[in-house]
């Protein structure tokens, strides 16, 4: 595996699908000019984030023309983008699409919907119930949409299935400006999280966060690529649109996995037995049981 990733740190316009689609096509052109193999966009990149009641209005079935237009652009470059997916049962998902060779290879429906702070995704979206990787011509990827990455279980499930890299489209708003902060506390948390994730799973972490302001909340950008040994390889500046390019290679993964052979020691069967026991014990999870 050896490819050039282009992280398109864009500023989607709230609810303006046509504008955002045109913008995506421009950024894909830019990434193509740089000879990138993958163009990756942030969470809900076609719609904007703070949708509220707009969520159902901007939702599209996967066959819809704007989606297919973007997908058809993936003949020479693989594309990851986000939108509100409407199923034939009129369920709505916060989805990320992996398109390649002019086709959709995979749709990841965000499985962990945040409902705290400024987030209210559970009000609008159904939670995805699958955590499967996508086998691409570039490698095997685990897609995790923003909050998914905060649940170690989600990353672990992908890891067990042998991913080379985690692709994390995100929409993280800025907060935490105290004097002893060197950076926004939300950015600092993500920095720790994505590096830890790379170390836990000896995998590349490719995190594309959006920029722009929606109703007072500023998305801080700072998209980054972390090596399988947990080292930051490249990072976009905060607050502005940016095309971040970085080479991803499986050689780094190999070195990390020789140094830290945690995949072979992960014992999924043991975890499954323990989990089954815990779930059967009425007292074990108590109030925390979902």
């Amino acid at each position: 595996m050896e490819f050039l990733a282009a992280l398109c740190q864009i500023k989607p316009a709230l609810g303006k699908l046509d504008d955002n689609l045109a913008d995506h096509l421009e950024w894909i052109d830019k990434a193509t000019e740089k000879k990138a193999d993958l163009a990756m966009f942030p969470e809900l990149s076609l719609t904007g984030y703070l949708l509220r009641d707009l969520a159902q209005e901007v939702a599209l079935p996967i066959e819809a023309e704007p989606i297919q237009k973007l997908v058809s652009r993936s003949k020479d470059i693989s594309i990851v983008f986000g939108f509100v997916e409407e199923t034939s049962e009129h369920q709505f998902f916060n989805s990320a699409v992996f398109a390649e060779g002019g086709e959709i290879l995979h749709v990841h429906r965000k499985a962990f919907l945040p409902d705290y702070g400024i987030f209210e995704e559970g009000r609008y979206f159904s939670a995805g119930d699958s955590m499967r990787p996508v086998q691409s011509r570039l490698g095997k990827f685990g897609l995790l949409v923003c909050e998914d990455a905060w649940h170690l279980s989600a990353g672990w499930l992908q890891f067990l299935q042998g991913v080379d890299a985690f692709l994390i489209p995100a929409a993280s708003p800025a907060r935490g400006i105290e004097a002893d902060n060197e950076e926004l506390s939300s950015q600092a948390s993500w920095r720790t999280l994505r590096e830890a994730m790379a170390i836990f799973f000896q995998s590349w972490v490719i995190h594309c966060n959006r920029v722009g302001v929606e109703d007072g909340a500023m998305f801080w950008g700072g998209s980054g690529v972390i090596s399988p040994l947990g080292e930051l390889q490249a990072e976009a500046p905060g607050a502005e649109e940016h095309l971040l390019l970085e080479n991803i290679s499986s050689e780094a993964t190999k070195r990390a996995r020789i140094q830290l052979p945690l995949l072979r020691g992960s014992r999924p069967d043991f975890v499954r037995r323990q989990l089954a026991q815990i779930l059967q014990d009425p007292d074990a999870l108590q109030e925390s049981r979902p």
Partner: protein, 281 residues
Amino acid sequence: MALQDIPPPPTCNGSLAEAVLTAFLKEETSKAGFSKALLGLSGGVDSALVAELAARALGPENVLGLALPYKDSAPESLQLGKEAAHHAGIPIEILDITAIAKAHASAGAVDKKDQTRFGNILARIRMVALYDRSAKEGALVLGTSNKTELLLGYGTIHGDLASAINPIGDLYKSQVWSLSKHLGVPDEIVRRPPTADLWEGQTDEEELGFTYPEVDALLHLMVDSRYSKKTLLKEGFSEGLIDTVKARVQQNQYKRRPPIIAKLTPRTINLDYRYARDWGS
């Protein structure tokens, strides 16, 4: 209680706050379809800070300061308002509201000795002046109420609390001071005892009954860090202060929300007809 016995007020990394707030001003102004903004310059630190931020975000030529003195306003207020404008590099215009206030007070039979009513009239006349000018200039009205004031309800609804967008509403007064210093707001403005200047000799801290550093320390732990009363007492805050502040914050919730609408239909505005304000832009 001595200040050193309680936790310090919340702090602010000037560069981080400046980056977020200038991005906020730039984007929320342009999304609303504006390239210009205006604000009332009271001679206090809050409006001086907003002027600095707006000048940086939009360019000083796109920001207008209005000084709106009443005949009994402290002369220092006008002088420091001019200084704030000068430092931010923005133009300032002066509109004396004395005649309007007198006419309004006499039409409504308001005695000037009724300080609250008369003070509210002054604050609302200033709002009218700012919004009128906003329409003329095609400039958005910037809010200058900080988080401490908003939580305590220390402001006039539809008066100084009225604005289109507010860059400092999530900064406590202590953070306003520290960000102002970071941006080089003149010292005499930063150090001036905070006052609404609605009557002679008025100061915020005397009227509120506590100092900003202590109430900021308390509010920060109570609101942002969700400390329980038990923990706040352990941290050294007096029960009297905790109860007074909590009651005040609760009583003034109405000033922080749009009016309550009686629900009749399946989708009531703001209750279950829910769109971001940016939807319209």
